[in-house]
Symmetry: C2
Subunit: 428 residues, 2 copies
Amino acid sequence: MAKKYVEMTKSELTQVNAELQKEYDKIVESGISLDLSRGKPCKEQLDVSDDLFRTLTSSSQCISKTGFDVRNYGLLQGIEEAKELFGQLLGVPAENILVGGNSSLTMQYDAFARCMLFGVGEHRMSWIKQGDAKILCPSPGYDRHFAICEEFRTPMIPIRLTGHGPDMDQVEELVNNDPTIKGMFCVPKYSNPTGETYDEKTIRRIAELNPAAKDFRLFWDNAYLYHDFGKETKVANIFDYTFGTKNEDMVYEFFSTSKITFPGSGIAVMATSKNNIDYAVKHLSVQSINSDKINQMRHVLYLKSPENVKDHMKKHAEILKPKFELVEQKFHEAFDEAGIATWTEPNGGYFISLDIFPNTAKTTFNLCKAAGLKITGAGATFPYKKDPDSKNLRICPSYASLEDLEKACDVLSVCAKLAATRRLLEME
Amino acid sequence: MAKKYVEMTKSELTQVNAELQKEYDKIVESGISLDLSRGKPCKEQLDVSDDLFRTLTSSSQCISKTGFDVRNYGLLQGIEEAKELFGQLLGVPAENILVGGNSSLTMQYDAFARCMLFGVGEHRMSWIKQGDAKILCPSPGYDRHFAICEEFRTPMIPIRLTGHGPDMDQVEELVNNDPTIKGMFCVPKYSNPTGETYDEKTIRRIAELNPAAKDFRLFWDNAYLYHDFGKETKVANIFDYTFGTKNEDMVYEFFSTSKITFPGSGIAVMATSKNNIDYAVKHLSVQSINSDKINQMRHVLYLKSPENVKDHMKKHAEILKPKFELVEQKFHEAFDEAGIATWTEPNGGYFISLDIFPNTAKTTFNLCKAAGLKITGAGATFPYKKDPDSKNLRICPSYASLEDLEKACDVLSVCAKLAATRRLLEME
C-alpha cells in the first residue's frame, strides 16, 4: 500500500486503522516495558570515563599551579587549571570562566535568580521589582529552561525555530522594541530537541541585538558543544561578536562535562564578561566558599586538553551514533510511505525531534504509555506544555540498548500511525 | 607589676604603655607575616583524610543499595546510603535528610532564598512580598549568616548570648509577639565564635516557641556537632522536641563534612521535616538534576558509620587541641595580670572568642595589621559589623602552626594591651 494516509479513501483508512489496531493490541498483550524519555547516557557511556575514578589518588596532586592546596577552602572562581582548560574549550580567556559545581542547570538557575533578585547591568534593578520581565523561548526547546521561567513566574514567549536557529526577524522585533523582554534561552548547537545548530548569520544577529531592555541577558546553553557523532556541525563562538562591543555583558554561556564524564558528577562552568564574572562572584561569595575544587582538579587531570576531550568524545559517538542511525532507519521504514511524520537527523547531541500528524501527540503518548513505552510528555518541548500543533515528540535514543531501541521504535510508530488514522477518520 | 590596668595610676599606666609601645615597635621592625583570621583546617588536618582519594576507585562501587547507578542522573534527595549515614549522625530518619552538594552554606542560602522568593508554610507567601521579614541573630555570631541576611536585605536583630545559648526571654518576647520576625540563625554547638553550646533547657524553649509568624524558620547550623577536642559538650537534638508537634516544620538543620574530610569538597546536608524536604525538592528539581552522588558514595564508603566518624574526629582533635590549649595558655600569660581580657575555652569547634578592653577592638585590629598579623575584622562577629562594645575578636587557631600561633598570640596580646593602655590614658 504505497499511499500516503492523507491520500487514502475512507475505506482504505478504515482498513489500515483496523490493521494498526490489531498490531497495537498484540503489543499491549506482549507486555513490554521500554523508555525513550530519558536524555541520559547509557551504562556503556559511563564506562568510557572509568579511569576518572583512578585519576586523582594522592594529595600531592592537589597543589594548583598557583601553589594553592585545592583540598582547602578558597578560590571561588575555580582553580586556575580548570579556568584555563574550559577557557580553551569555549574559546575565551581563563579570566572569563567561572567554574561551578556539578550542574550547569544550577548555574543557569542561579544566574537567572540573581537577575530576578538583585538585577544586572548598569542600574541593577531586580526583575522582580520591574514586575514584567518576559523571556523568549525558541521552541520546541528544553523543558528545564521553561521550568526556570515558570519557577520565577516570568512569562515565556515562544519563538519559531527555523532549522538554523530562532526566527531572528521575530526576535529582533521583540527584543529591540520591548523593554520588558529581559532574556532568551538558547541551545545553539544540536538544540534540544530539534538538533539544529544556529548558523553563523543567526548568531551574529543575536550578538548584534539592540535590546530595548538595558539589562537583557542571553542564557546560552552550549551543552552539546563537543557532542558530535563524527561529522561535526560547527557553531560560531558568540563572544567573537560581543567581546569589546556594547553587548559584552549580554551573554552568559553555560557548559558542563555531565555528558562528557559523569552526569551530575562533572564540572559545570559559566563563561561571560569579566564584569559579569565579578558580579556573580560577589553574590556567590555569600552563597558558597568555593565549588568542589578537588573534582575540578580530578577533571583537569583526566580531560587534559581540548584535543583529548575531542578524542574522548569519539568514544561516546561510537556508542551513540548507531542508536541515532537505528532510530532514523526505523522511522524511514515506518513513516516514509504513510507520510505522517517528519524528524530531525542531527550530527550530534542527545535528541531527535519527531513531528507526527497534527493533533495526535497526546493520543500517541497515551497509546505508548498504555502499551508500556514511556516517552517524553506531549507538549513538554513547548512553554507551558502548549504545542500549537500538538505534533512534536522528543525522542531520546541514548539510554536504551539497540535491541530495546528497535522495539521501542516499532511500538512508537504503530502508536503514531494508529493515532493518525484515528484522527483522519474523525476528520472525514 | 601585679596590678590590673584599670587599677593603675596614670604614671603607672604611662610607663606600661611606653614599654608596650617599645615591644610593639620591635615586632613591627622584625617584619612578621602571620594569620589568625582563617577558620580553616591546617594541612595536617587535610592529610587525615588522605585515604578518601583512594576509597572509590571503580564503577563497581557505584551501584547504590537501591540498585541505582550513582554515576548517572537522578536521586535529587541523595543516595540512600548517604541519607542513612547522615540520618544516624544527626539522629533523624533517613527520609528527613536532603543530601546536598559541597557546601552547607549554599544549602542555607538556598533555603533562605526559597523563603524570600516562594514563601514557606501553609500560605507560602514570599517574604519579599510580605516586605518586612526580620531575622534574629544571636551575637557574637557567624559573619556568613549575617551576610545572607544582608544579601536579601532582611533586617537583623542581635540577640544576647548567655554562655549557654541565646537569651530566651528576649527571643520569646520577639518571636511570640511580632509576626515580622521570620527566622533565627543558630550555631547550637561550639557556636561560632563564642564556642558555647546551647543547653537542653534553651533548646527546648527554642523548640517550643509560639511564633507569631506562621512561617517562622530556624536555621540551625550544626557545623560542629562532631568537632570535639576530647571532652565532649553534649547538645540536645532539637528534633526530639519538634517532630510530631505543631513546630515540626520550623527547623532546618545544616551539617557538612567540610571540617571532617575536605573543606569545600565534602558533603553537605539539610535535615528537616518530611514536608520541608518535599517542598525543597520541588524547587530544587528546577535548579538541579542531582547533587554529586559519586562524592556522596565516596564519603559513605570512607566515613562508614557514626562510630567511625567519631574515631576519625579524634585525629582532628589531636591536631587542634594543642593549638587551642596554646592560645589559652598564652592568653593567661598575657592577660591574667593586666585584667583587660576574657576569652572562651571551648571543648571543640574552630574558634576562641576574645573580649578585650571595651572600645579597643578596632585599634587592636589596626595595630595587628600594621605589624603583619591578620586577624578577623573587628565587629565581624556582629550584625552590620556593629559590636556594641567594640571589644570582641574572633581567634582562629586551626590553620597556623604551633610555632606561628605562639608568635601570633604574642603579637596580638601586645597590641591588645597597648590599645587598652592608650584607651585608659585617653579616659583619664
